[in-house]
């Protein structure tokens, strides 16, 4: 072979090798876009002297740990949501949210010394500003009063009463607002999401600035709850609503073994996997497992013996916030898409109520991809008060008359923060 030919062959070989050397990870990154994991390749993460479990193994390798209060509140919300489907609603939902006398609930899971009210927008609540909690209390009263007054009436534009979607009857206001959706999904944001992203995952709680640190000596109930950082992290996980041992369970097509936030994150994971190569539910769960493992692996007997890989922890936390927020955004998109496609007014106002609630819920993240102002703008596009971003701003919307163009505007605003979501077929 002569020299030029050899050189040419060598050149071709080099080109071929460099093409074949393009890693799948790089391809996946390009596809993932803004959903790219901060943790990178999960399978390549190794912790010193600790094997990361395949589930949130809170009773095994990650023990001790517990999040009983969170489970209790989710059980309480489930009872509240379930009861709001039985008309007329005779239960005092406002009292149930406050769990007055700590004996409002029937199920054993919901009973106990916890309530939902004091955890609504808690950081502000504890500082004396209970306005968000008060808004939900008022909403609960509105639902109960309207239900008792109008449960025999067929709803129409200007008349509160019942609509029928599929086989279900739902109660709406004169403006077509399905109170129960706002109550339930609004609380996803004001309680669970807010507690997760703006409270428990903070540096002063699960993060590096927790003054009790990540050691078993600083707390006197380590045997039940783990270190202080671990417990705060578990509480954030508790609000996600995933079943620790099995989520996401692809075999459970209804919920994936997740409640509320985890349920909706699961619901749209197939779509995000198809569009971005990222299964939201699995990615969120991976981040929870890695974050908790980092804390377990790095715990000390005393404060001077801790060795937390803070870079990994921060990356895991970033993923949790990213994927949970994306789940909410996907849900909002889904319901807007449905409302636009709906033929019947009943279906439309039901789906629109859900969408409004999910977008309002997304406003409870001070560091989200979607800012609170952007969430409000999306809501304003559909008639929410431009001067009142609180829940009270919803009551001026006439859902019967919200147009497809308005909902499309909202979709476009959301898409700015979640590029490509409007085309992801949620």
């Amino acid at each position: 072979m002569n020299s030029p030919l050899r050189l040419f062959t060598l050149f071709i070989a080099l080109i071929t090798l460099s093409y074949c050397g393009t890693t799948n990870t790089e391809e996946e990154v390009d596809t993932a876009g803004f959903l790219k994991s901060n943790l990178g390749d999960i399978n390549s993460i190794a912790l010193t002297n600790f094997t990361i479990p395949s589930s949130y193994d809170i009773e095994g390798t990650l023990a001790p740990g517990a999040y009983n209060g969170q489970k209790r509140r989710l059980a309480q919300l489930k009872e509240i949501a379930d009861s709001s489907r039985n008309e007329p609603i005779k239960w005092d939902l406002k009292a149930a949210i406050a769990n007055e006398n700590y004996d409002m609930f029937n199920s054993a899971d919901a009973q106990g010394g916890s309530n939902i009210r004091t955890k609504i927008d808690e950081l502000n609540f504890d500082a004396g500003n209970t306005s968000v909690a008060d808004d939900f209390a008022s909403l609960a009263d509105l639902l109960v009063q309207s239900s008792q007054a109008n449960y025999t009436i067929d709803a129409s534009n200007g008349t509160a009463g019942m609509i029928t979607t599929g086989s279900k009857k739902r109660h709406v206001s004169a403006n077509g607002l399905e109170y129960a959706q706002i109550l339930e999904k609004g609380l996803y944001g004001a309680m669970m999401y807010d507690q997760m992203v703006d409270d428990y995952l903070r540096d002063s709680q699960a993060g590096k600035d927790n003054e009790l640190g990540n050691n078993e000596s600083s707390v006197d109930n380590y045997a039940s709850y783990g270190t202080s950082r671990q417990h705060k992290f578990d509480e954030a996980f508790g609000y996600f609503g995933a079943t620790a041992a099995t989520y996401p369970n692809a075999g459970n097509t209804s919920s994936g073994d997740g409640l509320f936030l985890a349920n909706y994150t699961f619901d749209f994971s197939d779509e995000t996997e198809a569009a971005y190569g990222v299964n939201l539910a699995q990615a969120a769960m991976n981040a929870f497992i890695v974050g908790r493992s980092v804390l377990k692996a790095g715990q000390g007997f005393g404060p001077s013996q801790e060795s937390v890989n803070e870079d990994l922890f921060v990356a895991a936390r970033a993923d949790i916030k990213l994927y949970v927020e994306a789940g909410l955004a996907a849900a909002a998109m889904h319901y807007l898409n449905d409302a636009i496609a709906d033929v019947s007014d009943a279906d439309k106002i039901h789906h629109l109520s859900e969408a409004l609630a999910f977008i309002y819920a997304m406003s409870f993240n001070s560091e989200g991809r979607l800012t609170a102002e952007e969430a409000h703008n999306a809501l304003i596009a559909m008639g929410w008060s431009s001067s009142d971003s609180s829940l009270n701003g919803i009551y001026g919307i006439n859902l019967w008359t919200v147009t497809d163009d308005q909902m499309t505007s909202a979709i476009n605003i959301l898409d700015q923060s979640f590029p490509g979501f409007k085309d992801a077929n949620f």
Partner: protein
């Protein structure tokens, strides 16, 4: 060399030697020893912590374990031959074990709190109806929440002192012995478990966990012991029976039935045994403070007293020791826990000194960490 010159040279050498000696003394006195402050702010308390483990904590846990083994054997002897002699032997073993428990229980941290020693061994008063039903059922779970008010030493107190005819009651009802044997076995097993824990890696972890910040062994020990002292000595042993909770709380209704060994106090007609239990617990608190040097041998000074003394706070050390003496005096001058508040006040006095003086002087934050469990 002229004599004057020789003298001058000798004097100069003497001066140099004297200076060297003075310099050496200065260096040695400035050397960071136990209790002296390190200019970098990192004190080394290894010796103190080692002493605490070897001469205070482990001996108390070990003695308690030994006593529970004797208690269990004595229960077996009694139940295999129910008579007055064996009952008296069992009562003696019970007294000895209950006293040993007071020392072990003060160390309500690490293994002791993780295994819930206090709540599974000494919750009083008991629920006598619950106890009767449990005995009838022959179903026992000495770790369960549902049986916590029919457990431990208070349950034994009821079984062996609530009647003038204890032998007769045990003879006529074999279920009482079934329960007693299982209870004393449970008490023993827990003590063995704790003894094993403190003899294992916990000991080394405790010693190496230096410093005084939150989570350090010193912080944990002092805060947890003082918390136990407030809740289980001041309040439970003395306060509630005389109608006092915290020193700033309004008085509540006195309840003389809420003392340790209540049924024995009825049997004996006095609270002397209950008072002896109070004394044991106070003595353990003193032992902790003194690092086990309960004879107060000033040449030893191996406890927290040494830290105070080495930093020039002898008056605080003296106040603490005087307060312990006062508490003992107040215990000795009464035969009933009920009555005036002298004993309560003297017990509270130690808390005041520790929180106001000891903790700040040792730079220990008055705080116990707790996960909110929420």
């Amino acid at each position: 060399m002229q004599i004057s010159k020789m003298i001058f040279v000798i004097f100069k050498r003497f001066q140099a030697l004297l200076l060297s000696l003075l310099l050496a003394c200065f260096i040695i006195s400035c050397d960071g020893g136990e209790g002296a402050l390190d200019p970098n702010g990192q004190d080394d308390h290894t010796e103190l912590l080692t002493n605490q483990v070897n001469n205070v904590i482990i001996p108390s846990i070990s003695n308690y374990k030994d006593a529970t083994e004797t208690l269990y054997l004595s229960a077996n002897n009694f139940c295999s031959s129910i008579n007055d002699s064996n009952l008296n032997s069992f009562r003696d073993a019970y007294h000895n074990t209950y006293k040993s428990y007071q020392s072990a229980a003060l160390h309500n941290y690490y293994a002791n709190i993780n295994y819930d020693l206090v709540n599974t061994t000494n919750l009083f008063p008991i629920d006598t109806l619950l106890l009767k039903n449990i005995i009838i059922s022959t179903t026992y779970n000495f770790s369960s929440e549902s049986q916590k008010r029919a457990n431990g030493f208070p349950a034994i107190d009821y079984l062996i002192y609530s009647s003038q005819n204890t032998v007769g009651l045990f003879t006529s009802d074999e279920k009482k012995c079934s329960y007693l044997l299982k209870l004393t076995e449970s008490i023993k097993n827990k003590a063995v478990q704790l003894d094993n824990m403190w003899g294992g890696s916990l000991k080394e972890n405790f010693i190496s966990n230096d410093g005084v910040e939150i989570g350090s062994s010193i912080h944990v020990q002092l805060n947890s012991a003082l918390s136990y002292y407030e809740d289980h000595i001041r309040e439970n042993k003395v306060g509630l029976p005389i109608g006092r909770i915290g020193p700033l709380d309004s008085p509540i209704e006195a309840d003389p039935t809420k003392i340790e060994a209540y049924y024995q106090s009825l049997y004996d007609g006095n609270d002397l045994f209950a008072l002896s239990l109070v004394k044991e617990s106070i003595q353990e608190m003193e032992g902790l403070y003194l690092g086990g040097n309960t004879l107060r041998n000033s040449s030893i000074n191996s406890g927290y007293d040494r830290l105070l003394i080495s930093r020039g706070h002898t008056e605080v050390d003296s106040d603490i020791k005087s307060q312990f003496d006062l508490i003992y005096a107040k215990i000795d001058e009464r035969t009933s826990i009920s009555g005036n508040t002298d004993l309560y006040d003297s017990i509270q006095g130690l808390i005041t000194i520790m929180k106001s003086d000891l903790f700040p002087l040792l730079n220990i934050q008055d705080a116990d960490g707790k996960n909110d469990g929420d």
